[in-house]
């Protein structure tokens, strides 16, 4: 009986269905590697086997000795993984918060760009000889956050006042941001003038501004990139969790997402709530950009008008994979940045390239679109094995609706997924 109540918990089912999605995604990636290896005669089975091992264990790769891969604890990889998780956990939180309040924030890319621009301008334009660098850092961080909030509030207002679908408004504001950012940086005089790198903006460390390491460089001594950003991110994730589950504001936002009209009937200002949740979502994405570029070790390619930053879309994967739970997003973000590290190892040590990790991520997002189905399937699975006479109503339900979505557990899960 004890195992049954454990497996019947909604959280357990969410985690299990996430793990199943991840596993299927990884296997799909491995299969593509295997098939390409077999078909392409310059790759072969040996190369494919190397690739598959790197996909699963790339984080623990310690390089190559005499053509053989060596695995073990690698502090560079883990430090880099933590650093790369920073922006995608933040965009993930952004998408999660919007999703929990009934909005699909596909505009995290644009908000991310807005945050990048504001943070870089403040960090590079302020005179650090007059103002202490740490104050500049804080100003730049909040500047990025505000810019993101502003950019997120635009589709929010369009949705609230003009009833324009937020997905479309977000897509348009994304490309607007991509063009405006190029325009703004073109005449900014912030382009890096060192060597041949005219395509990038100065690192913020050029002006003496960089995120504090907070002791993480002692933990992962070989990683150049790891810094206190990840600690800030974890704190923000906890704050968002508290906001959504323990505060009146969070409840109002969620209620408005569940049903705008009944929320208004209950005395909640629905328009304000929609704008506010998009603004908070935008602030989170903007803060992610600020944390990434204020680290002092990253360069920004300012000609963005032809492509959007991938962080916004990876954020969707982070959010959906973590069932839009802010705490779960920390782990899913780290998992996706682990894949990112594995991808760079893959392109370094084999003839394959890092794009296979994007394929895996896309497969996982695709699967998470019907995670409810996996959950329902899990429900049936455990009920059948635990409780014999429950079998009959189950079958009756599923044969009627085809999907079994009338089961009480799944219905609860469905509400949570849609909310």
């Amino acid at each position: 009986m004890k195992t049954r109540s454990f497996f019947n918990k909604d959280g357990t089912k969410s985690v299990l269905s996430t793990l199943i999605s991840i596993l299927i995604g990884l296997i799909a990636g491995a299969l593509i590697i295997l098939i390409v290896g077999l078909v392409d005669d310059k790759l072969g089975l040996k190369e494919a086997w190397k690739g598959i091992r790197l996909i699963f264990f790339g984080l623990f790769s310690k390089g190559q000795q005499a053509g053989r891969l060596v695995f073990g604890f690698n502090s560079t990889n883990i430090g880099d993984m933590l650093f790369r998780a920073v922006p995608i956990i933040m965009t993930g939180l952004s998408v999660s918060l919007a999703y929990k309040t009934g909005l699909f924030n596909i505009g995290a890319s644009g908000q991310y760009l807005a945050g990048t621009t504001a943070a870089l301008f403040i960090a590079l334009k302020m005179n650090t000889a007059v103002v202490a660098p740490w104050i500049v850092w804080i100003l730049a961080f909040f500047g990025g956050m505000l810019a993101g909030a502003f950019w997120g509030a635009i589709p929010g207002m369009l949705k609230a006042f003009l009833n324009i679908n937020e997905v479309l408004a977000c897509i348009m504001t994304n490309w607007l941001a991509a063009n405006i950012v190029t325009w703004v940086f073109e005449g900014s005089g912030l382009q890096c003038t060192e060597g041949t790198k005219t395509q990038v903006i100065w690192k913020t460390s050029h002006n003496g501004v960089a995120t504090a390491k907070m002791g993480l460089d002692k933990l992962f001594p070989e990683s150049q990139q790891v810094d206190g950003g990840i600690i800030v991110v974890i704190l923000i994730a906890i704050l968002i969790y508290i906001l959504l589950t323990k505060t009146t504001l969070g409840f109002e936002l969620k209620a408005c997402g569940a049903n705008r009209h009944s929320a208004r009937y209950a005395g909640i200002k629905d328009k304000r709530s929609i704008v506010l949740s998009m603004a908070i979502a935008g602030a989170l994405a903007g803060a992610g950009a600020a944390l990434y570029y204020l680290s002092g070790s990253t360069e920004f390619h300012w000609q963005t008008y032809l492509s959007l930053p991938g962080e916004g879309f990876t954020g969707i994967a982070v959010a959906l994979l973590g069932a839009c739970n802010p705490i779960a997003n920390i782990f899913t973000g780290m998992f996706l940045s682990t894949l990112d590290v594995a991808g760079s190892k893959l392109s370094f040590f084999t003839e394959y390239n890092e794009y296979i990790t994007d394929v895996i991520i896309a497969v996982i997002v695709y699967l998470s679109a019907f995670s409810l189905l996996i959950k329902t399937w899990l429900t049936k699975k455990f009920k059948k094995s635990d409780d014999g006479f429950r079998k009959i109503p189950d079958v009756a339900y599923t044969s009627k609706s085809g999907q079994g979505d009338k089961l009480p557990n799944a219905a609860a899960a469905g509400k949570e997924g849609n909310a």
């Binding site: 997905v167 479309l168 348009m172 607007l176 063009n179 325009w183 032809l306 994967a317 019907f370």
Partner: protein
């Protein structure tokens, strides 16, 4: 002026056909957010088809057919190939949305992420760089039709210069297809049935229409048109090159579709408008509007005060700005198919 019209058509036609692709899916009740992804995938397949045919010397094998006419046939074969595989790619969306009743926005977003990833993965393996180009020559040299080929070199009037010189057959094929598809959607039994599934699937089902089959047809036609549109875009605007990106064209097509209120004629108008803006962004420096040799827009962009606003950055963001404004003003009037985005459930009333 001829140049302006030609360039506008080059940008407007892919937009138009991809927006129509969106209409087919949405009219059957499926939100196709994956237009961008399907375009990227279709562009890759078409370019790969041409690349491989050139590599294995299909035309060297049959020298007696190596003239410009058979090149056009070759181009149409590429369009068909990209359309068919685009439809196959769209099946992923159909399967998730129809069989598994998944969230259509999320599965569409997933396909938008999947397409560039898979395209770039294979492009890197095949070409060992970030983009797949033609095996030899460029698109204009292989596929562009010039007036000399049609025996019109002596004629030098406006119509010939605009519509029968330096064009791609694909542009006209797409216009024809657009008309045919619009007629199918509005004037045939199949079209009526398809549209009924997007408005009230329960009622359609009660009259004996197979909703699942209709929705699958909608998604498949949508995938075919979008995949083909992707290849036409790559062929006519980016020299038959595939790099896992169509610069947001699929999303713009989505805006065109909504702007056009899900109706073909309005969509054609909206696509021409957007095509004009895209054309301004791409070629503002060489457009001579009234033919007096003064390139007005280029002069303006160099002007000390006007140039601050009317520069390439401004023209590039214009389509997005306009579509946002238009959406803001027309949102009250816009009427989406009623049942779009809602998985069909037989038991629901």
């Amino acid at each position: 002026m001829s140049y302006l019209i030609q360039q506008t058509l080059i940008y407007a036609i892919p937009l138009m056909i991809v927006a129509l692709a969106g209409v087919f899916a949405e009219r059957s009740g499926i939100i196709n957010l994956a237009l961008e992804g399907i375009m990227i995938f279709g562009a890759f397949i078409g370019v790969l088809f041409v690349h491989l045919c050139q590599k294995y010397g299909v035309f060297e094998l049959l020298p007696q057919y190596a003239n410009w006419g058979s090149m056009q046939l070759f181009e149409i074969l590429g369009m068909v190939a990209s359309g068919l595989l685009g439809a196959a790619f769209a099946l992923l969306l159909g399967f998730a949305a129809i069989n598994l009743k998944a969230d259509q926005t999320i599965s569409g977003t997933a396909l938008n992420m999947l397409a560039p990833a898979i395209v770039l993965f294979f492009v890197r393996i095949i070409a060992n760089q970030e983009e797949l180009r033609l095996y030899k020559g460029d698109a204009a040299e292989w596929f562009m039709v010039k007036k000399g080929m049609l025996g019109l070199e002596a004629k030098d009037n406006f119509v010939v210069n605009t519509f029968f010189n330096k064009f791609y057959l694909a542009t006209y094929v797409c216009i024809l297809l657009f008309i045919v598809c619009s007629i199918i959607l509005y004037k045939t039994r199949f079209g009526l049935r398809l549209r009924s599934c997007g408005e009230n699937p329960q009622a359609a089902d009660s009259l004996g229409i197979n909703v699942r089959r209709m929705r699958y047809s909608g998604v498949l036609i949508s995938g075919f048109l979008a995949g083909m549109g992707g290849f036409v875009y790559a062929l006519t605007t980016s020299n038959c090159m595939s790099n896992g990106d169509v610069a947001g064209f699929g999303f713009l097509a989505l805006a065109v579709m909504i702007f056009g209120n899900w109706k073909p004629l309005n969509i054609a108008g909206a696509a021409l408008l957007f095509g004009l803006f895209k054309c301004l962004a791409a070629g503002y420096s060489s457009i001579d509007i009234n033919g007096d040799g003064v390139k007005l827009l280029f002069e303006l962009s160099k002007h000390p005060t006007w140039g601050k606003v009317l520069n390439p950055n401004f023209y590039r963001m214009l389509p997005y700005l306009i579509s946002l404004l238009v959406l803001a003003f027309t949102s009250k009037k816009s009427r989406a198919p009623k049942a779009e985005g809602i998985p069909y459930d037989k038991g629901q009333r």
